[in-house]
Each structure stands twice: as C-alpha cells, then as structure tokens.
C-alpha cells in the first residue's frame, strides 16, 4: 500500500503539477458544432466598394462577420446593390433606348428592394423555425449580401446581354435571355443568403429552398407589374394587373 505515486522514492522532491488538477470529465454527447476555421471569421475591414465586392465573392464569411460588427457594412452592401442593378438596368434599357434609359435602372433598383422588404419577414420566421437567434437586422444583412452578389453577377453578364440587344429586335428573345441570367444570379445570390444565415446559427435554414422559390416568384411578379422593362417606354402609369406567366405567354404570342 502506498499513498502517492512517489511513495517508493521518499527522498525525491514531489513534482508540482503544472496545471490545476481536476477530475476527468468524459464527453457526454456528440462533439460540439463545428466552429469556423481559424481566421475565417475575422471581420472585413476594407470598406471600399471594390474591396467589399471582392470579399463578397471570395470570403463572404468575413463580410458576414463585418456586417454583424459594423452597421456601415450594410450601407456599403446596399450601395453595391444600387450600383450593380443600376448598371444592369442601364444595359437592359439600351435595347429600347429613349426614356427607358432613365426609368429601367430606377425600376430595377426599387423593385428589387421592395421585393427584399416584402420577403424579409418570411425569411426571418423561416430561420427562427430552425432555432435561429439572429436579429431582424442581421437577417436583413444576410439578405443584402445575397442581393449584392446578384447585382454583381448581373453586371458581369451585362456585356453578353448588351451584344444581343444591339442586334435583335425580338422582345421575347431578350426577355428570355434576361430571365436566364437573372435566374443564374438569383441561384448564387439566394444560396449565399441562406448559407450566411446557416453560419450565424450553425444550422441550415429550414425550408430555405422554398423561401428562395417564393422570392424569385415575387421578383418575377414585380417585373411584370413594373413592365415594360425590356420593351419601349409607354408611360409612367402601372399597366393592368397580370400574372407573370400570363404576361410571358402574351409576349411570346405577339
């Protein structure tokens, strides 16, 4: 029988443990949720529009961290949305020219922001269904990230659309091309918004795909309400209310 591990060596100096001894606590459950990799959540500090846009493409995690730490980032993202959609609207308007050069960018920017505001409550509630803890402002920030990415991608596709707009006179063809590129941009942008919300809460947004489909439908309906976006200018008043699919068939038929 001995009292300590060093009992057989009475002359030796007891070694002080280098740490506070505490009883062994075995893991009682699965490992905790994965924290981000080191350095990836450091807030983005360069708030110049170009640098922020680049960060949104390459390191959205740092933009998300900056968004939660600095309210100015949200304003900068909104500026990216305005610049991106404005440029895209300008290119869209070159198809018809005239007053459309003034109206289409404005319609595009306002239409997108109204859609975002309309769909914000549903996104926030959907994320709360998954146990999300973020504030409405943070949900808005995640949504702005996605819309800003959409705007940037639409700017990237603008030269492609411009060259088609210079040759064809077919509103149906131009509308279809704009729709294709819009859907591609929306896929990337809304995906980013949902992933940003997942990162905030370490859990995916329940029914996020359904919400994204709803957002796209609202946006398509808004584009029908604000028509004409592709065709020639025909007044500032709203046209008769029409379901967007019906409007497409009308355009194809004409």
């Amino acid at each position: 029988m001995h009292d300590s591990p060093w009992a057989s060596e009475p002359d030796s100096v007891p070694i002080e443990p280098a740490f506070e001894p505490r009883p062994f606590e075995p893991p009682t459950s699965a490992p905790p949720k994965a924290p981000p990799l080191a350095g990836h959540d450091e807030p983005w500090t360069d708030l110049r529009v170009g640098a922020l846009a680049d960060a949104l493409l390459r390191a959205p995690a740092s933009v998300l961290a900056a968004l939660r730490a600095n309210p100015m980032v949200g304003a900068r993202l909104a500026l990216i949305v305005v610049l991106g959609l404005g440029a895209c609207g300008l290119v869209m308007a070159t198809f018809s020219g005239g007053l459309q050069l003034l109206f289409v960018p404005v319609k595009l920017i306002l239409g997108m922001l109204v859609c975002a505001l309309v769909c914000l409550p549903s996104l926030h509630v959907f994320s709360c269904l998954s146990g999300a803890q973020q504030t409405v402002r943070e949900t808005w920030g995640a949504m702005l990230m996605g819309i800003a990415l959409m705007g940037m991608l639409l700017v990237g596709f603008a030269p492609v659309l411009w060259i088609f707009g210079q040759a064809t006179h077919s509103i149906a063809l131009m509308g279809a091309l704009h729709l294709c590129f819009f859907l591609i941009s929306a896929g990337f942008g809304l995906g980013l918004s949902l992933r940003a919300l997942s990162r905030m809460n370490d859990a995916p947004v329940r029914a996020g795909g359904l919400w994204a489909v709803m957002f796209v439908c609202v946006l398509l309906q808004m584009s029908t309400t604000l028509r004409p976006l592709v065709g020639p200018f025909d007044g500032v008043l709203f046209h008769e209310r029409l379901f967007f699919v019906g409007h497409w068939f009308q355009t194809l038929g004409s």
């Binding site: 029988m1 001995h2 009292d3 300590s4 591990p5 740490f19 001894p21 505490r22 009883p23 062994f24 606590e25 893991p27 699965a30 490992p31 905790p32 994965a34 924290p35 981000p36 990799l37 080191a38 990836h40 493409l57 390459r58 390191a59 959205p60 995690a61 740092s62 998300l64 940037m152 991608l153 700017v155 990237g156 596709f157 030269p159 492609v160 411009w162 060259i163 088609f164 210079q166 040759a167 064809t168 006179h169 077919s170 063809l173 990337f188 980013l192 992933r195 940003a196 997942s198 990162r199």
Partner: protein, 352 residues
C-alpha cells in the same frame, strides 16, 4: 508567341504570381491579331483580295470581342465555383487559350490557302439569281469551303480548349473545379461567339452577292432567331416543343456537370488535426471535420464551411471496403477525441 503555345514553366509562374500579366496579355493579343488575321485572309481568299482583307480584320476582332465580352462574367463566376483565380488571371487564361487557337489557325493558313487555290475558281456570277445554272457550281464550291473552314476552326478551337484545361489544371489542383470552370466559360463563349459571328458575317459570303464588310442585315435578327426559323422549316409546328426539349436537355446536362462533387484527396490522421496532403495541402483541426463515413472502397470526409461559407467533401480511396470502414471509424474516433479536447486526466490517489 511560342512560349504561349508551349505554356512553359516561366509563363505559368508569371500567371500564378501575377507577375507582369500585362506583357502576357499583349503577347496573346498580338498572337490573336496575327494568327486569326492570317486565317481570316485564307477564309476570304476564294472570293478575292478584298474579301480576304475584310475577313482578316473581322476574324481577330471576333476572337477579341468574345474574350472582352465574357471575361468579366467568367471572372466573377470563378470564385463562386470555388476557384482561387483572380479576375486578371481569368482574363489571361481566356486570352492564352484564344492565342493558342489563333496560333494554330495562323499555322494552318498556308494549308488552307493552298487548298482554296486548288478548288474551282469563282466564276463571275455576282448579280445572278441563286437558282441560275451559271451560279450553282460556284455556290456549291462556296458551301464546301465554308464547311472546310468551319472544320479547321473547330479543330483549332478544340486545341485551345485542351490548352485551357492544361493551364487551369496547373493553376487549380482540384479537378472538379477545373471541369466546372471550363464548362461555364465555354458556354458563355459559345453564346457570345455565335452572336458575334452572326453580326460580323459574311466571312466568305454568297458568290452571287457582292462582297461586303458586313451584311446589311447584320443588326437585324440574331443567331438564335435564325435557329428558330430553321427549326420551324424543319419541324413545322412542333419546332417550339423540339427546341424546348433540347433546351431542357442542355440545362439538365449543365446542372449535372456544374454540381459540386467530392474531391479525391490524400490525407494523414494526426492526433490534433487532419492533414490533407492533396489536392490542396493544408491542416484541418478536428473541430472542423464534420464527419467521416465509408462508402464502398472510399471514405467520405465532410469539412465545415470555410471562408466561402461552403462545406467541402473529400473522398479518400482505400484498397477495399473493410479498410474503408476501418479508416472511417478511426477518423471518427480521432475526431471525437480531438473535438472535445484539449484535456488531461488526473491520477486518482490509490488508497487501500
């Protein structure tokens, strides 16, 4: 010029390190102007010197136009497909691939000129109707030559795509990312190239019509409207349905090709982390490994989202199923221990 075609190590290093990219761009543009210009000359040669000069101006303009109009979209999409290429590197990669195509076209221009010279010369048929018996032999020859030139340009284009693949594989080690980049870029280039070629037509022209720099109908219609017209004349009322089916097929194929896939990897299990040796060497703390499971002869390891907010999956090949299951179990054990640590156990005092 030839270093672009060879894609030698110095050039690669310059692209990788963003070193004097302007010089590479200048060389690529010069190669396109010379190579595509020479082939443009060969393209229009059968119609006479005037048409040859027109084509020698339009073909390089077409190539450079496609590069200019697609670079921004390609560069913005690249990071979204998980590539580390910058916008400038993307632009250079596109220019280099077009330069390779143009260099090959330039090299084949003498062959094409000789081939054209050996064909039946064009008769004086300008102003005749297309159905006039005197015009028909020249129209037949012109159609055969367009087919020949299209085949040569297609071969050179394939060489350019192969070179682009080689370049991207050396800049970006993940095969899945390279595949998605190339499919996206080529899709965009096809879309723009088809429309620009439509606008800048004719390159050879119809023998019974006078030579023109651009068609009077250049800005009236588009390549895809012409496809619709051709489909209507071929399929009649079923044309929209046929084209819709074709479009859905293409879209389905694209979605399948562009879907992110797990990357083949080599790993080493360390006490505190997982060392990924390939495709991109890095260490991943156990807390960022979400799980490992055996699937056939492979082990699939899921990594937490990184700075791009996208989760990643690695595939590690094993000799057989039991080995894969053992490795997955070992990774899971190491992960469970590593994820809750660091901690130390304390000897309980031994008492009687």
């Amino acid at each position: 010029m030839l270093s672009l075609v060879r894609l030698d190590a110095t050039l690669l290093q310059r692209i990788r390190t963003h070193d004097r990219l302007g010089g590479i761009a200048s060389s690529a543009i010069a190669t396109i102007l010379v190579g595509a210009g020479l082939y443009g000359f060969a393209f229009g040669f059968w119609r006479g010197i005037g048409a040859a000069i027109f084509s020698s101006v339009k073909l390089p303009a077409l190539v450079l136009g496609v590069a200019a109009l697609t670079t921004l979209a390609s560069g913005l999409i690249a990071p979204l497909l998980r590539s580390a290429l910058s916008l400038r590197q993307t632009g250079i990669a596109i220019l280099v691939s077009f330069a390779v195509t143009s260099a090959l076209l330039g090299a084949l221009a003498p062959v094409s000129i000789a081939w054209v010279w050996m064909q039946r010369p064009m008769a004086a048929v300008v102003g005749l109707a297309a159905t006039d018996p005197r015009a028909i032999p020249s129209i037949d020859t012109a159609q055969a030559l367009v087919l020949f030139h299209t085949a040569v340009i297609a071969v050179a284009g394939i060489a350019g795509v192969v070179r682009l693949l080689g370049l991207l594989h050396r800049l970006e080690p993940r095969g899945g990312v390279v595949r998605r980049l190339v499919v996206t870029w080529i899709g965009l280039q096809f879309l723009v190239g088809a429309e620009l070629a439509w606008i800048t037509r004719p390159f050879l022209g119809r023998p019974h019509l006078p030579v023109a720099f651009v068609s009077p109908e250049a800005l009236n219609g588009s390549f895809f409207e012409e496809i619709l017209l051709l489909a209507r004349s071929t399929f009649g009322v079923g044309a929209p349905a046929m084209l819709s089916l074709f479009g859905i097929g293409i879209a389905g194929w694209l979605v399948n090709v562009l879907r992110a896939s797990a990357e083949p990897a080599r790993i080493e299990v360390l006490p505190r982390m997982l060392a990924v040796l390939a495709p991109i060497a890095r260490t991943v703390p156990w807390s960022s490994v979400l799980g490992a499971r055996a699937e056939g002869h492979d082990v699939r390891i899921r990594l937490a989202a990184d700075a791009t907010l996208v989760e990643e999956e690695l595939v590690v090949g094993c000799p057989n199923g039991p080995d894969a299951r053992r490795m997955a179990a070992r990774i899971e054990r190491a992960r469970q221990l590593g994820a809750v640590g660091p901690f130390r156990t304390v000897d309980e005092p031994l008492s009687g």
